[in-house]
């Protein structure tokens, strides 16, 4: 028993006046600690998984949101096991091995000596946990189809479905507007999306850097001028509203740059789309042709300052009063983004 953990000092009571006399039998500390830890960590994990877990943000409005919720829950379960172990050991040590008045120093003697076996177990276990969390987190960050994150203009992970609804998110100081290329390129104040559908958000900006964060959809993508940042989501059957926030400090009204979007049924969506397309037609004709990015500085008080070759200026004229210049407009990339209801 000489190399048993209990005999190595780390769980043994300090050598005190009674320790040497053999008057008090030393309890099996490790067994006690293990039992307490097992019960607390298992109970905590079960309660979390079945009671709290289903309510953890960002919810289940999209497959990607559900994925993020699953990741949070898995990471919580793993960390609860560690946290409960550490706290129980700490509490136990405080109580069990506290100094008694007038007694000897409780951390001296064999209790303070090192133990190679315990140290090896500790370092190996914690390293494995951290590496596992790292691998899990990294993989989950990109699966499936980018996990709702902005993948840049040329996404590596694309949905396999051929029915993807493209929606352009245009950030500007200080409001998001949305363009629907499959509805005549109309632009709207509100983001309405159909349930049970693959959606490609094409996020861009016509001034500074913003960030499109549709919280309950599990989508977050940077909005940069001149960049078409694509993020995919697949909506679940859950209907209702969600929050859209700007998540990149973008000026005085950054904090006010939010709105609420809506997930509706496919039928409602098609009805809303055609209705809005008709209602907006008188203004849609003034919008620049639909493009994946726009030149933010094409027509401002300082005039053209950006390289505008190959891009549509956001407004159809560069300088007021001048004849609209003919621009080489990057036509929308041909993608499989044709959207129809099934």
């Amino acid at each position: 028993m000489s190399d048993d953990i209990e005999s190595q000092g780390w769980t043994r009571a300090p050598a005190g006046p009674t320790a040497g006399t053999g008057a008090r039998r030393e309890p099996h500390h490790f067994r006690r600690l293990f039992a307490m830890w097992f019960v607390v960590s298992l109970a905590g994990d079960l309660v979390w998984w079945f009671v709290v877990g289903p309510h953890v943000p960002p919810g289940t409005m999209t497959t990607q949101a559900r994925g993020a919720q699953f990741d949070f829950n898995v990471l919580f379960l793993a960390s609860w096991v560690v946290v409960s172990g550490v706290c129980i050991y700490l509490g136990y040590a405080f109580y069990q091995w506290r100094a008694s008045r007038g007694g000897p120093d409780p951390v001296g003697g064999p209790a303070a000596s090192s133990n190679v076996r315990v140290q090896t177990i500790w370092i190996t276990t914690t390293t494995l946990i951290v590496i596992a969390a790292f691998i899990f987190g990294t993989v989950q960050l990109i699966l499936p189809q980018g996990a709702g994150g902005g993948e840049g203009p040329d996404p590596i992970w694309k949905p396999t479905s051929d029915k993807v609804l493209p929606i352009q998110v245009i950030a500007q100081q200080w409001k998001f507007t949305y363009r629907y290329p499959t509805f005549g390129g109309m632009e709207t104040s509100t983001l309405v999306i159909p349930a049970d559908t693959w959606i490609a958000f094409h996020v861009t900006s016509i001034d500074v850097i913003h960030d499109f964060w549709a919280y309950q959809l599990g989508v977050k993508a940077d909005a940069n001028p001149d960049v078409d940042d694509v993020a995919y989501v697949h909506t679940s059957g859950q209907l209702g509203s969600f929050t859209v926030r700007c998540d990149e400090l973008c000026g005085i009204w950054h904090g006010a740059m939010f709105d609420y979007g809506k997930v509706v049924t496919k039928t409602q969506f098609m009805a809303w789309g055609s209705r809005t397309e008709r209602a907006n037609a008188d203004n849609t004709k003034y919008l620049p042709p639909f493009a994946w990015t726009y030149v933010p500085t094409a027509n401002t008080t300082t005039g053209v300052t950006a390289d505008t070759s190959g891009q549509a200026p956001y407004s159809r004229i560069e300088k007021y009063g001048a004849t609209p210049a003919k621009k080489t407009v990057t036509s929308p990339k041909t993608t499989s983004s044709t959207f129809t209801t099934t």
Binding site: S189, I252, D282, S315, Y320
Partner: protein
């Protein structure tokens, strides 16, 4: 160093820090624009007549060359340099905006459409319109500014003026009686609850700042403010 020497240095640094904090705080407090109240301007329930103007050059304050909104006081009819206005909740607000600045293209033509007003329309010099686009405005002067309250979905574009007219206002406060301007009128209802609703211009009009986005666009009381609705 002696003990008293060290204490003196610490106290000196402390005094500097306190001075700087107070100085920044005083500047911050002092920079807050005033609020024009329309709470008791009309009998309860009666429509409120809110009058504003937009000046290309505000003429006063810390940045006299900047573009700015001004709000008229309901009783003394003075155009105050601020963009904070108190309005009663659940009330009809009849708005008149005298626009004195020149026009430019809209950055986003989306803001050429009138939304959120009664009937989804506004009147430009008495004529009803739904869309005012920078490239076919009635007087060919583009859009000067917009009056936009995103959380209430209100957006009204305001037409620009011809800078070559001798009566073009070059320095605020401008006179709707003697100086070149366009008059835009519309009505909207305030919500039934209290709250501060941001309004701003959606044409980056900070001339001299990068892409027009900084300066007056980023400073409370110039091209942005609050409708402070009180129940």
């Amino acid at each position: 160093m002696s003990r008293s020497g060290r204490i003196a240095i610490v106290l000196g640094l402390l005094a500097c820090a306190v001075f700087m904090i107070v100085w920044v705080a005083m500047n911050f407090v002092g920079s807050e624009p005033g609020t024009v109240s329309y709470l008791t301007a009309q009998a309860p329930g009666a429509p409120v007549h809110l009058v504003m103007q937009t000046d290309g050059v505000v003429g006063t304050g810390a940045h006299p060359t900047w573009v700015s909104y001004r709000i008229q006081t309901p009783k003394t009819h003075v155009f105050v340099h601020t963009a904070l206005v108190e309005l009663p909740a659940n009330s009809m607000i009849d708005v008149t905006i005298y626009q004195f600045d020149s026009g430019s293209p809209l950055r986003n033509q989306f803001f050429g459409r009138v939304t959120g007003t009664i009937g989804q329309v506004a009147k430009l010099n008495g004529k009803t319109f739904k869309v005012l686009n920078s490239y076919d405005t009635p007087n060919g002067q583009g859009v000067g500014h917009t009056f936009t309250v995103p959380s209430l979905n209100i957006n009204v574009p305001l037409e620009g003026n011809n800078t070559s007219k001798p009566t073009f206002c070059t320095k605020g406060p401008c006179s709707p009686v003697t100086q070149e301007h366009t008059t835009t009128t519309f009505a909207f209802r305030t919500p039934s609850f209290s709250g501060n609703f941001r309004f701003q211009c959606f044409i980056p009009c900070g001339a001299g700042h990068y892409a027009g986005n900084a300066g007056p666009m980023q400073t409370l009381g110039y091209m942005g403010g609050f409708l402070e609705v009180r129940a």
